[in-house]
């Protein structure tokens, strides 16, 4: 019953009750009277019946007013208070509770108001704390990510399922160099957030190391770790150290950190050293034994001439063999020895720039460095080398008044020349010899090292030359080059404007559920969003893919640093009509790998993910037509942003990529390259997911079912 009706009822009730009481009393009194008395009473009352009714009416009205007032003060006020309190309970509003009704009701309202205020204060406080805590966590994560990025060792962090949660730039470069097809799409496929580490390492190997760690934990080790060495598919030797990520309380194993070193070269050098040592001892022992025995025999005075000559020839032969052996050992040992001191790979131009800065900072000389071969990579101990050059420059300035010099770097056979050149004053060779052997002293700094020591450390050489024609003199350092493989390993500057997305700690909480993919939520799946550029629009009629671009979405984030982009030689002409659309000229695809090589690489990239494309049926048709030829089958689930857009906005006219992007407020850049389009598609998809959720579509299965029911799904290629 509505409140207004109840108020009316409450107002009428006292009057009715009064009337009822009068009628009942009259009826009962009437029943006890005799006929005479009834007539008498009738006579008395009859003329006054109007008065009685009037009195009843007046009383009723007065009672109605009173009841109305009481109802308003107690019932209505309470009901309103209840309503308002419910509003406050549902969520925060700025409305004050009604200040009406009886004193008690108003008191109750004030108390509730106080409680509400208290709740608000608590909520605010909690929110502040949560914010502060998450800021702190975010801060720490960033700091950790920054730290990881700077490490020169490769680091990969995984959860117990072997999914990658974090990796640093060094690891990315290392895996890229280790990839089967390093030339393809920059070897993009081997490592990425959410990817399985078991695509790189054998599962048993990692499991064994984890077992070792568990055993050590069981024995009470606080920092359990394990180590293994493995060969990669392309024959490199990796030393992997595994450390546990411990969850508290417990501690229980929550994941693991892998630190990787490519020890291929170290190992090769070590085994070379072993070989040398072996050759030195066992080879020489035999020869020495022959020599000694022959010499002992020669000592016998009664030896006849023929025997003496035979023993002498043994001695000659063995002595010559020993000489040869030592010569060859000396040659190979020299190359092995230079690795003893830990050297770093450094771009030659960076080294020269650092040296020039150091010399200029001393204020002794002005240094030019125009003639520097920028392509050279050196294997150097840059600090000691920098000291040596600064020291030489300082002595030139102090003792010969040289004010200007030049640094030059050039290739010389298998090594590099690093020259400190000056003109004018001639320095004698003896002086230079002294400089080379003296402990280095620069200003107030001194070191027990000499230039000779620094040169020896590099397995290099150092000398002084004069060029009379140009009136120039120079000190020359002969330095080792870094090998090609090492240059691949060297870090390239990452995009400086944004911190690469190399980590996602939320993946710690995810685990490979046994649930069917169709039941998984859209927000927790990993996606490969891709696009192809083609020679034309007719896949069955012989048109071919000329570019594949793809990007990844893991845990609701677009991973811009884990893209895949590869041009493909279609082995047929590109139709002139299509060139303005994708901008790919025939000359650009010439010499690119064919689809036979690219598709397996893309398949590896898309492993364990759901495929997403705009108008996916078109792209999928191209991929399917190549199944027989390439042997790779894209059998994972596919989502189509065109169809999903039609699900979300059924009444819109256009579901073209650009129209959708505009509708969803996405800035479109770099369209009509495969990677550009894939990136836009990925952004569109990320915006569509919450809109789908509003329509009650949460899982992959629901999304696919809804897409299938749209009109657009009926188009066939």
């Amino acid at each position: 019953m509505k409140l207004a009706q109840r108020a009316l009822l409450a107002a009428l009730a006292p009057g009715l009750a009064l009337g009822l009481w009068i009628a009942l009393t009259t009826a009962m009194v009437w029943a006890t009277l005799s006929t005479q008395e009834r007539t008498l009473l009738g006579d008395v009352l009859e003329p006054r019946i109007a008065l009685t009714l009037m009195a009843w009416l007046v009383c009723s009205v007065l009672l109605a007013l009173l009841a109305r007032r009481l109802f308003g003060d107690h019932v209505e006020a309470l009901a309103r208070l209840d309503e308002e309190t419910r509003v406050q309970l549902a969520g925060r509003t700025d409305r004050a509770l009604p200040d009406a009704g009886s004193a008690q009701v108003r008191g109750l309202a004030a108390t509730i108001q106080a409680l509400v205020a208290q709740r608000s204060a608590l909520q605010d406080d909690m929110q502040r704390q949560v914010q502060a805590a998450s800021q702190q966590v975010d801060h720490e994560r960033r700091r950790l990510a920054a730290l990881m990025a700077e490490l020169t060792q490769s680091v990969v962090v995984c959860n117990l399922d072997g999914r990658v949660l974090l990796y640093n730039n060094r690891a990315r470069l290392q895996f890229r160099a280790l990839s089967d097809v390093p030339g393809l799409a920059e070897g993009a496929s081997t490592i990425g957030l959410g990817r399985s580490i078991y695509t790189v390492f054998e599962r048993q190997l990692v499991d064994h190391a984890l077992d070792t760690i568990r055993q050590r934990m069981a024995r009470g080790s606080t920092n359990p770790s394990a180590q293994f060495v493995t060969t990669t598919r392309n024959g490199q030797l990796l030393r992997v150290q595994m450390a546990a990520v411990l969850d508290t309380p417990g501690p229980v194993l929550g994941g693991f950190v892998l630190m990787l070193d490519n020890v291929t070269r170290e190992f090769e050098q070590e085994s070379l050293r072993d070989q040398l040592l072996h050759g030195m001892t066992e080879g020489s022992r035999g020869s020495l034994a022959n020599l000694q025995a022959a010499v002992d025999m020669l000592g016998y005075p009664d030896l006849d001439a023929a025997m003496r000559e035979r023993f002498l020839s043994v001695v000659r032969e063995e002595a010559a063999a020993m000489g040869d052996r030592i010569q060859s050992l000396a040659v190979s040992a020299a190359s092995g020895l230079k690795t003893r001191w830990p050297m770093e790979d450094m771009r030659g131009s960076d080294l020269v720039a650092a040296i020039a800065r150091r010399i200029e900072a001393l204020g002794t000389l002005e240094v030019r460095s125009d003639a520097v071969d920028g392509a050279l990579w050196l294997k150097v101990d840059s600090f000691s080398l920098m000291q040596a050059l600064a020291y030489l420059a300082a002595r030139l300035a102090d003792e010969f008044g040289i004010r200007r010099a030049e640094l030059r770097l050039s290739l010389a056979d298998t090594r590099a020349h690093l020259d400190l050149v000056w003109s004018g004053q001639v320095v004698s060779t003896e002086t230079v010899m002294n400089w080379e052997m003296d402990p280095m002293r620069i200003g107030t700094e001194s070191t027990p090292l000499s230039v000779r020591d620094v040169v020896d450390r590099h397995g290099g050489a150092f000398w002084f030359e004069r060029e009379r024609v140009r009136h120039e003199a120079f000190f020359r350092f002969l330095l080792p080059l870094a090998m090609a493989q090492e240059v691949i390993d060297a870090p390239v500057a990452a995009d400086a404007t944004e911190r690469p997305e190399y980590y996602d700690f939320d993946l710690f909480r995810m685990s490979d559920q046994a649930r069917d993919l169709a039941d998984r939520r859209l927000t927790e799946l990993s996606y490969t969003v891709f696009d192809t550029e083609t020679t034309g629009l007719d896949p069955s009629g012989g048109d071919e893919i000329i570019q594949i671009g793809a990007t990844r979405i893991v845990n609701g984030r677009l991973l811009r640093h884990e893209g895949f982009e590869q041009l493909v030689d279609p082995q047929r002409p590109i139709s002139a009509a299509s060139i303005p659309i994708h901008g790919i000229q025939p000359s650009m695809v010439a010499g690119q790998p064919t689809i036979d090589r690219v598709l397996p690489a893309f398949h590896a990239f898309a492993q364990d993910t759901v495929l997403v494309a705009h108008n996916a049926a078109f792209d999928m048709r191209f991929l399917q037509l190549k199944e027989a030829r390439t042997g790779v089958c894209f059998d994972q689930p596919v989502l189509d942003t065109l169809l999903l857009s039609a699900v979300v906005h059924p009444h819109q006219e256009s579901h073209g990529l650009e129209a959708i992007a505009q509708r969803l407020g996405i800035a479109v850049e770099g369209r009509h390259t495969a990677l550009g389009d894939a990136t836009v598609t990925a952004q569109v998809f990320l915006k569509l997911v919450p809109l789908l959720a509003d329509k009650g579509i949460h899982t992959l299965g629901q999304a696919r079912a809804a897409a299938k029911d749209t009109y657009y799904a009926r188009v066939q290629y």
Binding site: L288, A293, F311
Partner: protein, 124 residues
């Protein structure tokens, strides 16, 4: 009694010295240039002692050692290993496979003779 000695080594440059040395010391000397030859020679005419090189073609000294110890007719043959392998693990292996003594190259011929005499004296 004249002792018979077999010298097995693939290096002619040591063989010539050892042969001269042992003959001079009054032993009856037979030569073998690889492991198989050494076994054949021993089976033909068991010597009292073998100077056995480890690194030989066809059969290594260690294999010869094992075969000798497995052969009933050759139980009493003394074996002195001569080898360029000087690690203690190699010595242990040689002795474990049945060698009576182990001499690492290079060695003094005087010591070698003394060693041989001591072994034969003990056996006599």
């Amino acid at each position: 009694m004249t002792h018979k000695i077999l010298i097995a080594d693939d290096e002619p440059n040591i063989l010539i010295s050892l042969e001269y040395l042992m003959k001079r010391e009054g032993f009856v000397v037979t030569l073998a240039r690889d492991g198989q030859e050494a076994i054949d020679a021993m089976l033909r005419d068991p010597p009292h002692l073998v100077l056995l090189d480890v690194m030989m073609p066809r059969k290594t000294g260690l294999e010869v050692c094992q075969e000798v110890r497995a052969h009933p007719a050759l139980q009493d043959v003394l074996i002195l290993m001569l080898t360029a392998k000087g690690r203690d693990t190699d010595v242990a292996k040689g002795l474990a496979l049945g060698a009576n003594a182990y001499v690492t190259k290079p060695f003094s011929t005087k010591d070698l003779v003394a060693r041989v005499r001591a072994m034969l004296g003990g056996a006599a």
